[in-house]
């Protein structure tokens, strides 16, 4: 299977609010794919749809299954961590591990206990007594011990302090990712994850605004600090975004050959964060 | 048909209830169960029942 996720025309409305307005998403196996978007863009809805936690219209295939009808079978190969603490508050840590061991065929208890031994989490405390950072550590410890094909993370480090955040991504990359496993991660803190992504997707107003491999970004997008005399030529090439940068104007171009842009001024590849702003403002203009 | 029943929670509920009542009513007729069980002496209630029957005619 070359694409672990294939989604076409996903639509979901809550009353008159369109959370997803025709989302197309293709995620290849082994990718670390980011889903970036502002609050309310549809990130959480899209991710929940992938795991069958949200009923959507459209074509959807995850690991060869339709999450809407085969959720429980799919969950043997997929794991999910949300931005909020979803672990049941009344469970003791040891009881939660017992539960996952009982219900999940691919769970290795010893691995979880190994991961937990490096933390301060006591086995007989209830989840509600743990700090937010510890709960995420625990959830990650459970997930690391499950041999899954796909990991779906919905803003997993939201509200955590920097130590927990760094440790989270370290574990993810070092202990979990092996090139065959796929990670889909949503966040609005782009800078934190842009270094580890292989693929990038922007979502806004329930639609995908960008979908590309990180290595292609430099070929497609160019940012130019335009010399004042070249402004007119720059305008003629249809920039997708213009911003002020230290008194000068910085233009962002999509799919314009670098040869055409070089005479206009200093060129460089936009950071993901700047590209995000450019594309968001871009779709708002349309 | 499946698409209609599983469109949302409301359509599913209606489908389940229709099935349930149909089975109950058919079984009731077949096995000759007692069809009525409420015998109210409240004159206002009798009035309402009469209204319904008149409406049906």
């Amino acid at each position: 299977m070359s694409n672990i996720i294939e989604a076409r025309a996903l639509t979901k409305s809550y009353g008159s609010l369109k959370a997803l307005a025709g989302v197309d998403l293709t995620i290849p196996t082994g990718a670390i794919s980011g889903l970036i978007g502002p609050n309310g863009a549809g990130k959480t809805t899209a991710l929940k749809a992938l795991i069958g936690l949200c009923d959507v219209e459209g074509e959807l295939s995850v690991a060869g299954m339709d999450p809407r009808t085969a959720r429980h079978k799919l969950m043997e190969d997929v794991c999910f961590i949300a931005d909020v603490s979803i672990l049941p508050k009344w469970f003791k840590v040891s009881q939660l591990i017992d539960y996952v061991e009982g219900v999940h065929p691919k769970f290795d208890r010893i691995k979880t206990e190994e991961f937990l031994s490096a933390t301060d989490i006591p086995a007989n405390k209830r989840i509600k007594e743990l700090s937010k950072g510890m709960v995420t550590q625990l959830h990650l410890a459970l997930v690391m011990a499950i041999d899954v094909k796909l990991l779906v993370l919905d803003e997993p480090t939201l509200g955590l302090d920097i130590i927990y955040r760094k440790e989270f991504y370290d574990r993810l990359l070092n202990d979990y990712y092996d090139g065959d496993r796929t990670i889909v991660i949503s966040t609005h803190q782009v800078e934190e994850i842009e270094a580890l992504l292989t693929h990038l997707n922007f979502i806004n107003n329930g639609e995908i605004a960008l979908s590309a491999m990180m290595t292609d970004l430099a070929d497609i997008y160019t940012e130019v600090v335009v010399d004042p005399e070249q402004i007119a030529q720059a305008d003629a090439l249809n920039p997708i975004h213009i911003r002020e940068l230290l008194g000068k104007k910085s233009y962002t171009f999509e799919s314009v050959p670098k040869a055409q842009l070089q005479p206009l001024g200093e060129i460089y590849t936009p950071s993901v964060a700047d590209l995000f702003v450019a594309k968001m403002k871009d779709s708002r203009h349309e | 048909m499946k698409k209609i029943i599983f469109k949302n929670r409301y359509t599913l509920l209606v489908a389940v209830l229709i099935t349930y009542i149909t089975v109950l009513v058919i079984e009731g007729f077949i096995t000759g169960r007692q069809a009525q069980f409420l015998d109210f002496e409240n004159p206002f209630f009798d009035l309402n029942i009469k209204d319904i029957e008149a409406f049906r005619e």
Partner: protein
């Protein structure tokens, strides 16, 4: 059904008991404690003579008699336990598929490879077969304590206390009937249970209002369309916990397996199947 499925189901049952330990473990324990306290207080009020005569009477009454025949007497002390159990059972069923959607934990439960069918089944087996065992165990402990206490008291009054042993056996036999009654009543009430669980799965808010409101509406519609009240009739026959008491083993097979029981299981299953499919719509 293979070993993994059994293990998974066991983990699901464990979760239910742990999650509701207040209802299944604390509640009967507190009730037993209150009964003991009340008994101690009553005995101090009764005075030594009355107490010793009562113990002597109990020992004589049960002496030499078959525990199975004398068991029904002990349904009376079981009444408060059964009452509390059914009250908790209603709350449990109403919340069974509703509460986890109100909290965020539904996102965790649904991220585990547990089918909706197994989720619903585990909750039914918990309330119909497993939870009652905790109540039975508490009553058993209560009867053991009562036996020792009365025996020691009786011995100190120089009463022949062997009969108390027969009384204890009758009490223990009654526990078998209590358990059997609860399980068969649960099966008998399956249509009602199914209705409650269906709305537990369906409602976004106040499932009990939906369950009652739709019942009234559907009953009205049935009357209007068919001119019948089969629904009302049927529900009336499937509404109280005392409708299926098992107090002896006479004709036990026909009493457990008959047309009405099977028909109830069939229609209850329709509603429960609806609840299982309804789990698709959790947002």
């Amino acid at each position: 059904m293979n070993k993994f499925h059994l293990l998974q189901f066991h983990a699901l049952l464990q979760r239910e008991i742990l999650e509701h330990r207040n209802m299944f473990i604390m509640a009967p324990a507190i009730l037993a404690g209150l009964i003991l306290l009340f008994s101690v207080w009553a005995m101090t009020r009764m005075g030594q003579d009355t107490v010793s005569i009562s113990i002597e009477y109990m020992a004589l009454l049960f002496d030499g008699l078959s525990p199975l025949e004398m068991a029904p007497i002990f349904m009376i002390p079981a009444i408060p336990f059964i009452g509390i159990f059914y009250f908790c059972a209603i709350i449990y069923l109403m919340n069974s598929l509703y509460q986890d959607r109100q909290e965020l934990s539904i996102l965790f439960w649904q991220s585990m490879p547990v089918s909706n069918l197994n989720t619903v089944l585990s909750k039914l087996v918990t309330i119909g077969m497993v939870a009652p065992l905790f109540y039975i165990a508490t009553m058993f402990a209560l009867y053991v304590i009562a036996l020792f206490w009365l025996a020691i008291l009786g011995w100190s009054y120089d009463i022949e206390v062997a009969g108390l042993g027969y009384m204890f056996l009758a009490a223990v036999a009654s526990l078998i009937f209590v358990y059997l009654s609860i399980v068969t009543t649960a099966l008998w009430l399956l249509p009602t249970i199914g209705w409650v669980v269906l709305f537990s799965a369906f409602a976004k808010r106040t499932p009990i209002l939906w369950a009652i409101g739709v019942f009234i509406l559907v009953g009205f519609l049935e009357e209007f369309i068919f001119g019948t009240q089969f629904l009302g009739n049927f529900v009336q026959s499937r509404s109280t916990p005392t409708q299926y008491l098992i107090l002896d083993f006479q004709d036990i097979v026909e009493r457990l397996i008959n047309y009405d029981m099977l028909f109830g299981i069939l229609v209850g299953s329709i509603l429960l199947a609806g609840a299982v499919y309804m789990r698709r719509f959790i947002d």
